[in-house]
Symmetry: C2
Amino acid sequence: MSLKLTILGCHSATPRVNAHPTAQFLEIKNHQFLIDCGEGTQVQLRKYSIKFSKIKHIFISHLHGDHFFGLVGLISTFRLLNREADLHIYGPKGLKEIITLQLKLSNSWTQYPLLFHELTSNESELIFEDSNVEVHTIPLDHRVYTNGFLFKEKLGERKLNVNAIQQFNEIKICDYQNLKNGRDYTLQNGTVLKNKILTLNPDAPLSYAFCSDTSYFPEIVPTIKNASCLYHEATFLKDKEALATTTKHATAAQAASIAQQAQVKQLIIGHYSGRYKNIEDFKTEAQEIFENTFLAMEGKVFEIY
Amino acid sequence: MSLKLTILGCHSATPRVNAHPTAQFLEIKNHQFLIDCGEGTQVQLRKYSIKFSKIKHIFISHLHGDHFFGLVGLISTFRLLNREADLHIYGPKGLKEIITLQLKLSNSWTQYPLLFHELTSNESELIFEDSNVEVHTIPLDHRVYTNGFLFKEKLGERKLNVNAIQQFNEIKICDYQNLKNGRDYTLQNGTVLKNKILTLNPDAPLSYAFCSDTSYFPEIVPTIKNASCLYHEATFLKDKEALATTTKHATAAQAASIAQQAQVKQLIIGHYSGRYKNIEDFKTEAQEIFENTFLAMEGKVFEIY
């Protein structure tokens, strides 16, 4: 099992040449999710050779422009590409009105089903689930209603203990699925082999927590506890902590503190303010608190096993 | 007098790397106008070092995404840059609702005055005028309500005929403005010198007609007659004339025919469909009908004297 995250944009506020606003492409189990969609995201998807047709679910954290102004363009491009598959969009209430108004006035209704799942709760809720993956909201503290998203693999099937199984010739390939499902095996002589003798524990499920934008908000710690990977915004360095508080953003140190409290496996920071010339300073600051910190960079791919 | 046009984007439909949708920056007399604002326009403005503060008037032809999806982002960036000056936006009815809904839901009202001038007429109308320049709409024929725009210099002051003036010592610098304004000059001996002896005709006013998107629509010819420069969309080559008719776009040959009928000084074509790999084919086709044809290219600057 693995989880693959491609950073499409990781800067705050206004898009600039080579400094795109927030967008991420997450591959987890058999799913591909787009998280946030700042202006220019569709060009970034092309730049990093991500097939548009893979995207079936888009998650929008909040209605500040640097997190969703690229959405209507992407929806329109799907139309021009003759998409037929459903597109599910999860985001704050109001997003549906914004998109449908523009489609109406441009006389450009999509020929594919466009399904909005509008969010209003201030409690973490399960918003997507199938047999492999579930997605929960992470209510954040920002200037407008904002959610992060927790993407979790479900516990997989048990794994065959091939060495153990080979000791019993009468166990055939057609029995394997029952073993993976956890069932015991009864030999022809009546002996019952406990499942745990014949199988191994499944891989530990991976999880990815996306938290942007938000102030320093320790209330999220229980929700993101032990995540395999946490992306947490770090708009400022601690020299601007007062400004972070006023604007309801976080510093690199605060992001690292959340990572430490939640005991996540690794931290990625991003959403850098344009005022900082040396992005490495964010890493230095965060690593004083949480060593396993990485910098989001456009086009960078994080693979987590 | 001169007119300077910077092409920020000249491709149709979906934005791609190095193929941005329609946006142009026009400098005429003491004005700087932005024409259309496809997704990514603000990044293109930065790329070509155009100061955001110069833009006080934005003209939107129609509400297809490739002509206005970048507008809300630009408006938001002006806010983040602490703009104070008025911003005037001219475009189809509905544009104000689209923009204000997004500003409302993102809790990001502009601190500067944002003034919408919504267009509904199917007749050419004067929508901007000052002592130097006037702007008229050019109603076009497209799938949704669409206007082109005609930017016209006003006739300037008369120019001093320095050689003639030097023959009369008693004419002083303080008299020059009266001469430029067309007044005769009375010498101390009572002789009246006709103004046309002392001055030359002003430069011929320049004009720029922007026509996109539109089908082949000769009804525009009287409005754009003799323009110094015409930009006319050419989405297709004539091999796809039937498709052009269906989608209410034009071919390169049709654009050239309009230029010829209107006897404009030069033609720029653009809004190329992504299906064509060799843009030069558009020029070849147009030049069979109208020799003085140029291709719009991103970053290309046209200066017209």
